[in-house]
């Protein structure tokens, strides 16, 4: 049964595990048992659910996209509105969960990696809220590109640490966060931002994101035929899919095809990658013939990651989830379309899921229904969108 994964070794089928330096093995074991304890603890769960409700704004609505549905003339389209969550994306669900766990474990210092800054902002936010110190590792190139989110983290009181190793992007920031953790694991909690990393991270992050799917199940008043979610590391997708894994509903994960999966510039890990180890986990990744990890590309910073959560690797291999990919241009079109049809400017990440759903919805019949997970809002992407859409493009 897919929902009972991972096994005790952190395996999802062939994938997952803990490929980390020995120094981290004990901290990971400590984390695992603390997590297991917490998830049995009524008080902990109550606190987690209260923060989600009274602080983060859950439940997020399920919005019926009536205009888009009519325009396409096919399946009914529902939108799960993670864009309305505090700080603007689903990332906070997980950050709250992990930060509460950190506190429960008596660790009042958190570290986090970030690419575009969304998880960094979410981490800085919960750190402020819960009174933890927070260091965010961010590639120097990303710091340059995401000036605004860097400022936001600092305003929230976090320390942003510039990472100059590698290409100065998310992969390198993650490496550096792990390195820092190795050196400081005794009193620091590493708050990973997606369902990646060594066991028990992928399971833990799924735990803290499954609220998306759980709510959706409760909110839908009719049968769902398909569910769409974009996949970077895979946390919003797993959060949405997990509660449906054993149901009769088609699940579709959408990767970033960047400039096209036949070019070198994409981030379509499952479509084009091969199994390997990255950031402590055996999964699919983008690499060369020598096993060196390759820098991915996507216009959306949140999907611009060379790996993917191990559970997705297994869902891909077992074909329980269908994975598709969407190019930059298709995603940008979907941003515009959703903005104009529904008055919702989605994150470019989320627009990948929307673009695929649009392609498919019109081929479906009117008595079918689909859900798209709108993982975040587009505010953070305005500079990118402004660069792309010329005046005519907006006519």
């Amino acid at each position: 049964m897919l929902t009972s994964m991972p096994n005790h070794k952190g395996r999802y089928g062939d994938f997952g595990g803990k490929y980390v330096p020995e120094t981290l093995m004990a901290p990971l074991e400590e984390l695992e048992s603390a997590l297991d304890e917490a998830m049995q603890d009524e008080d902990f769960l109550k606190q987690y659910n209260e923060e989600l409700k009274e602080y983060a704004g859950r439940p997020t609505p399920l919005t019926y996209a009536d205009k888009l549905t009519k325009e396409l003339g096919g399946a009914e389209i529902y939108l799960k509105r993670e864009d309305l969550l505090h700080t603007g994306a689903h990332k906070l669900n997980n950050a709250i969960g992990q930060a509460l766990l950190a506190k429960r474990m008596g660790k009042d210092k958190i570290i986090a990696e970030t690419g575009a800054g969304q998880h960094g902002v979410a981490s800085a936010t919960v750190a402020a809220k819960l009174g933890l110190s927070c260091k965010v590792f961010m590639g120097e190139e990303d710091i340059r590109r995401q000036e605004l989110n860097v400022f936001r983290m600092k305003l929230l009181g976090a320390e942003v640490i510039s990472v100059s190793s590698g290409n100065g992007t998310l992969k390198d920031a993650t490496n550096e966060a792990i390195r820092y953790w190795v050196a400081n694991c005794e009193d620091h909690f590493y708050l990973i931002g997606s369902v990646v990393g060594p066991h028990p991270y992928p399971r833990m992050v799924r735990n803290f994101q499954r609220i998306i799917g759980d709510e959706t199940k409760e909110q839908m008043t009719r049968d769902i035929d398909r569910i769409y979610a974009c996949v970077g590391g895979g946390s919003n997708a797993i959060g949405m899919f997990y509660p449906f894994l054993e149901d009769e509903v088609e699940l579709v994960g959408i990767e970033a095809a960047g400039k096209g999966v036949d070019t070198p510039e994409h981030a379509a890990t499952l479509t084009k990658g091969t199994p390997g180890v990255i950031h402590g986990s055996l999964t699919y990744l983008m690499q060369d013939e020598n096993g060196q990890i390759v820098e991915p590309y996507s216009i959306s910073a949140g999907l611009d990651y060379p790996g993917i959560g191990p559970e997705h690797a297994n869902l891909f291999k077992t074909k329980r989830v269908r994975y598709e990919s969407i190019t930059d241009d298709e995603a940008l079109d979907a941003v515009k379309r959703m903005s104009r049809a529904e008055g919702i400017i989605p994150a470019i990440e989320s627009a990948h899921a929307i673009a695929q759903a649009i392609k498919e919805a019109k081929e479906m019949s009117k008595d079918q229904a689909i859900v798209i997970n709108v993982s975040g809002r587009g505010d953070k992407d305005m500079a990118t969108l402004m660069e792309h859409f010329t005046e005519e493009g907006l006519q």
Partner: protein, 268 residues
């Protein structure tokens, strides 16, 4: 202590006071690697850790990261690093060689093909910093079959894991001096010594301490308390400075400088 049969295939001449230097294969060029390896042997190295450069070396500090980048830029790979070993031998290297590599390149190579290649090229040991005990079963079996020592590590956090790891250790047991990645440490933490004691209690192979050893004082301390010491970042730094010397003189002068510095570092 019960000794294992093939401690580095008989090439390890002693089990105390082991000097185990680490260099990155191909930093800055394969030819240079051979020169440095020989100089290290001259300086008394007992085992050579030959590091394979990797794009994402998450157990390494900035010095080794930079060396890896230089080596990758020079075209080094796992395959080439392994194939360099016969050349090292030809040039006169007799001490056991341990290939140090992250796990992903091994996975891409394929376990079987990789271990075959190690055997064919006469590699005596293998160390994979991101492959803990729990994930190493298959490679452990395969290396055993071929008399290749799969080196295990214990860390200050290992606690109850120490016994389990130490008991199945082969070649030598790599004792990580302190929390953190590779790179110099100004001082050894006082806990380090008691940690080494504890590890030694459980280990059936020599216990060598690594991570951060970068001064003769620290070497002295390790000579006293451990069975050996591994020096990585500091050696890589000495290579860097020998290259500087080379620039303003000739190659021999650079290598001489390297030898002098290494001798000074490890002198008893």
């Amino acid at each position: 202590m019960m000794k294992q049969q093939t401690l580095f295939q008989g090439k390890l001449t002693k089990q105390k006071d082991l000097f185990i230097p680490f260099i990155v294969a191909g930093d800055p060029h394969p030819d240079k690697t051979i020169q440095y390896a020989l100089r290290l042997q001259e300086a008394g190295a007992d085992v050579l850790e030959l590091g394979v450069p990797y794009s994402d070396p998450l157990a390494d500090g900035p010095v080794i990261q930079k060396a890896a980048r230089r080596a990758l830029d020079a075209g080094m790979s796992l395959r080439k690093a392994v194939e360099m070993v016969p050349e090292l031998r030809k040039a006169g290297l007799n001490i056991p060689v341990v290939i140090f590599t992250y796990y992903n390149p091994v996975l891409q190579y394929g376990h079987e093909a990789f271990i075959d290649a190690l055997e064919e090229n006469g590699v005596e040991g293998l160390l994979i910093p991101d492959l803990p005990l729990e994930e190493s079963e298959d490679l452990n079996e395969r290396t055993k079959e071929k008399d290749i020592e799969l080196i295990s590590l214990v860390a200050p956090t290992s606690e109850e894991r120490i016994k389990r790891i130490a008991e199945q250790a082969r070649g030598f047991l790599y004792c990580v001096s302190s929390l953190g990645v590779t790179g110099e440490r100004k001082e050894m933490a006082p806990e380090t010594l008691s940690f080494i004691e504890k590890v030694k209690e459980h280990s059936s192979v020599p216990v060598a301490v690594g991570f951060g050893i970068s001064s003769n004082d620290q070497v002295q301390l390790m000579r006293k308390h451990a069975d050996g010491f591994i020096i990585g970042s500091k050696i890589v730094k000495l290579i860097e400075s020998s290259l500087e010397v080379e620039k303003s003189g000739d190659e021999q002068e650079g290598l001489r400088h390297f030898s002098d510095e290494v001798n000074e570092l490890v002198q008893a």
